[in-house]
């Protein structure tokens, strides 16, 4: 069958053909590969020489990017005022860097008693996660002593069921640092992965370190500021205490002096006064006698004048002596240390109202009174008459300070321990010198003969006796405010 063998020959020929072609193709491919390899080598060689340059440039770029981030961070660390704000900002930033991962924060002294928070990204604050403290000691021990460093937790946090309920992923990123000397914070970032470039990881690390050092710096600053404030406060207190001491010392010595004077004057005044009234009686006798012998006496003008003048003279002497006696008794009440008057619970509101009524004659012409008492003022332990004396004195002083028309404001209020009363006027005010001498006996700004200068010093003594305080504030041309305060009568004292 020539056809069949022809066919076979044809197939053989074709097969051989194909084999040859395939071999040619392979050869072709092989030489193509060699050519490509050569090309590659050339490229490689050419670029090798650039390599150093390129890597230097890359490093520079890399550094620049880092610096940028760090300087941003540094800026905001400087500009934020509270450490709490700084913390939320830092966590927010880290969460953003890590694709909005959720953030949990623990704050603790001992890890068995940690308070947990969650970062609320929308409102940019930390909210409590668990209502109670939780034990994170096993988690804390996983972190080991590596502070201020981001760390992967490669064990599933199954020990603490409370926390793991809030974690979505298997392997968290953790960061711990000392917030204060004995307070640790542990941050958990719940990330699905930590597949980030070296640069980003580095930036995270540096950001963390920066945050921690900013925090430490801030807390030292805060401590310093706190201490400074405390010192300032103490200084202020000391100064005012010193002033008070000086003042009460002064008042005490003046009191002693006054008591001495009063004592010295009291006796002579006593017999001068009684002698004067005896003298008065004697004069009546003399007058009677003169009248009886009147016609037998020669005309004597001087005698007649003396006879007429003697009555008023004695009268005014008695008046003068009375006044001296009054002053001496005021002095006594000023210097009196142990008060004999008994204190009882009294209503400040009543006392104010009564005082206004009594002083009304002085007030009504040129002043209006504005009275503001809070409701339900507690009672204080006091002596009604004495307290009235104080208030009347203050009101009258206020009236006197007014030029033409003015307003006097009286307020009374209380806190838990004390009742306060203030009497203010919008009068002429006073200068420093006056203010400093205000409570000294015989100091007066009134023209001679018009005031004894004992009003405020006696008031001062009364207030002291009531265990109260008196303060004055005054600005020249604007007015003066006296503020009094008294301890609230407490039940036991009231009964006793």
């Amino acid at each position: 069958m020539p056809n069949e063998s022809d066919d076979r020959l044809e197939v053989e020929r074709l097969t051989k053909h194909i084999t040859l072609l395939e071999k040619a193709l392979r050869d072709e491919r092989a030489s193509k590969k060699i050519a490509e390899q050569k090309l590659d080598d050339i490229y490689q060689h050419r670029y090798d020489s650039y390599r150093e340059l390129v890597s230097a440039l890359e490093q520079a770029n890399h550094r620049q990017a880092q610096l940028q981030v760090l300087s941003n961070l540094a800026n905001y660390h400087v500009s934020y005022n509270s450490t709490a704000e700084m913390l939320t900002h830092f966590l927010q930033e880290i969460s953003l860097l890590l694709e909005d991962a959720s953030v949990i924060l623990f704050d603790f002294k001992t890890p068995e008693q940690a308070i947990s928070y969650k970062l609320d990204k929308e409102n940019n604050n930390l909210v409590k996660l668990l209502p109670k403290r939780t034990d994170i000691s096993s988690l804390y021990s996983l972190v080991g002593g590596n502070e201020s460093q981001w760390q992967r937790i490669t064990e599933k946090l199954t020990h603490n069921h409370e926390i793991s309920a809030f974690l979505e992923h298997d392997f968290q990123l953790v960061f711990t640092y000392h917030r204060l000397r004995n307070r640790v914070n542990l941050v958990i970032i719940d990330i699905p992965h930590y597949c980030y470039s070296k640069e980003l990881k580095q930036t995270l690390d540096t950001a963390g370190q920066q945050f921690v050092s900013a925090l430490q710096k801030r807390s030292t600053e805060e401590k310093l500021a706190n201490n400074y404030e405390k010192l300032q406060h103490t200084l202020k207190k000391l100064t005012s205490m010193q002033n008070q001491l000086v003042h009460s010392e002064k008042m005490a010595s003046i009191g002693q002096l006054a008591a001495g004077i009063a004592h010295e004057i009291n006796n002579p005044i006593g017999y001068v006064k009684s002698n004067l009234s005896v003298l008065n009686d004697y004069i009546l006798l003399f007058n009677q006698a003169i009248k009886e012998v009147g016609n037998h006496l020669p005309e004597n003008e001087e005698l007649t004048f003396a006879q007429q003048d003697i009555g008023p003279l004695i009268e005014s002497c008695i008046g003068g002596v009375d006044r001296v006696a009054e002053i001496v008794s005021s002095l006594n009440s000023f210097s009196r240390k142990e008060e004999s008057t008994e204190l009882q619970p009294v209503s400040i509101k009543d006392i104010i109202n009564d005082s206004i009524k009594i002083a009304w004659n002085n007030i009504k012409y040129n002043s209006e009174i504005d009275l503001k008492c809070t409701e339900d003022l507690p009672k204080i332990m006091g002596h009604k008459g004495e307290l009235q004396q104080v208030l009347i004195n203050l009101i009258v002083n206020a009236v006197h300070s007014l030029e033409e028309q003015g307003k006097i404001t009286i307020k009374a209020w209380a806190n838990k321990r004390r009742v306060y009363i203030s009497v203010s006027d919008n009068g002429c005010g006073m200068d420093e010198k006056t203010k400093n001498k205000l409570f000294e006996p015989f100091f007066t700004t009134k023209p001679e003969g018009q005031g004894t200068g004992l009003g405020l010093s006696v008031s001062y003594a009364i207030i002291e006796h009531h265990k109260g305080e008196i303060k004055v504030e005054s600005t020249q041309g604007e007015g003066t405010t006296f503020e009094l305060c008294f301890p609230i009568a407490n039940e036991s004292i009231a009964i006793a």
Binding site: E22, K32, K33, E36, D40, Y47, R51, R152, T154, C195
Partner: protein, 180 residues
């Protein structure tokens, strides 16, 4: 995409399914102009996509399966070209780090038009590693195949688990690589 990948693909098809299959694929392709690619040239990405789709049609396997087995075969060929960069590596994890930080960078230096994926690693433990694959080409299955190939090279056994994948609508392609 680099011609080298196409050359590798041609060899892969030829080795596994014969020259005729390769020629048939090229014949059906509208984008490929020749059955022969030059390794140093750059070709349109769509060509590979088309070749993969045609292959999948002809062989009745999914594109991802093709890519994975292609990666396994492609690896030794790529490795041939990168020999001088990898002398220090003796295990798959170090090597993967090296690919990202040295090999692919060298590829881009040698050909500035080349585009390599970013492979970012997160070594969880000595035998566990997360790898985030990012590339607009989205051929994570090729990467998977390449990793199998690389493990083979270092005489290691690995299992790869696609934790999340952009093809499934996830944000990233995340693979968990575990060595036995």
């Amino acid at each position: 995409m680099k011609g080298a990948i196409f050359c590798g693909y041609a060899e892969f098809i030829e080795q596994n399914h014969g020259l005729m299959t390769w020629l048939e694929i090229i014949d059906k392709s509208e984008l490929a102009t020749s059955s022969s690619f030059i390794a140093t040239e750059l070709y349109d990405d769509n060509i590979l996509v088309e070749l993969l789709t045609i292959t999948s049609d002809i062989l009745g396997v999914t594109v991802s399966e093709i890519l994975t087995s292609f990666g396994k075969i492609l690896f030794p060929k790529l490795m041939e070209a990168a020999k001088h960069h990898v002398d220090k590596c003796d295990n798959i994890f170090d090597f993967l780090d090296h690919v990202e930080n040295v090999i692919h960078i060298e590829v881009k230096k040698a050909d500035p038009l080349a585009y390599t994926p970013s492979l970012i690693l997160d070594k969880i433990s000595n035998n566990k590693l997360l790898l985030k694959y990012t590339s607009h080409r989205q051929v994570c299955f090729l990467a998977e195949g390449l990793i199998y190939g690389a493990a083979n090279h270092f005489n290691q056994q690995v299992t790869i688990e696609h934790i999340s994948c952009t093809h499934q609508g996830d944000k990233h392609c995340l693979m968990k690589v575990t060595t036995d």
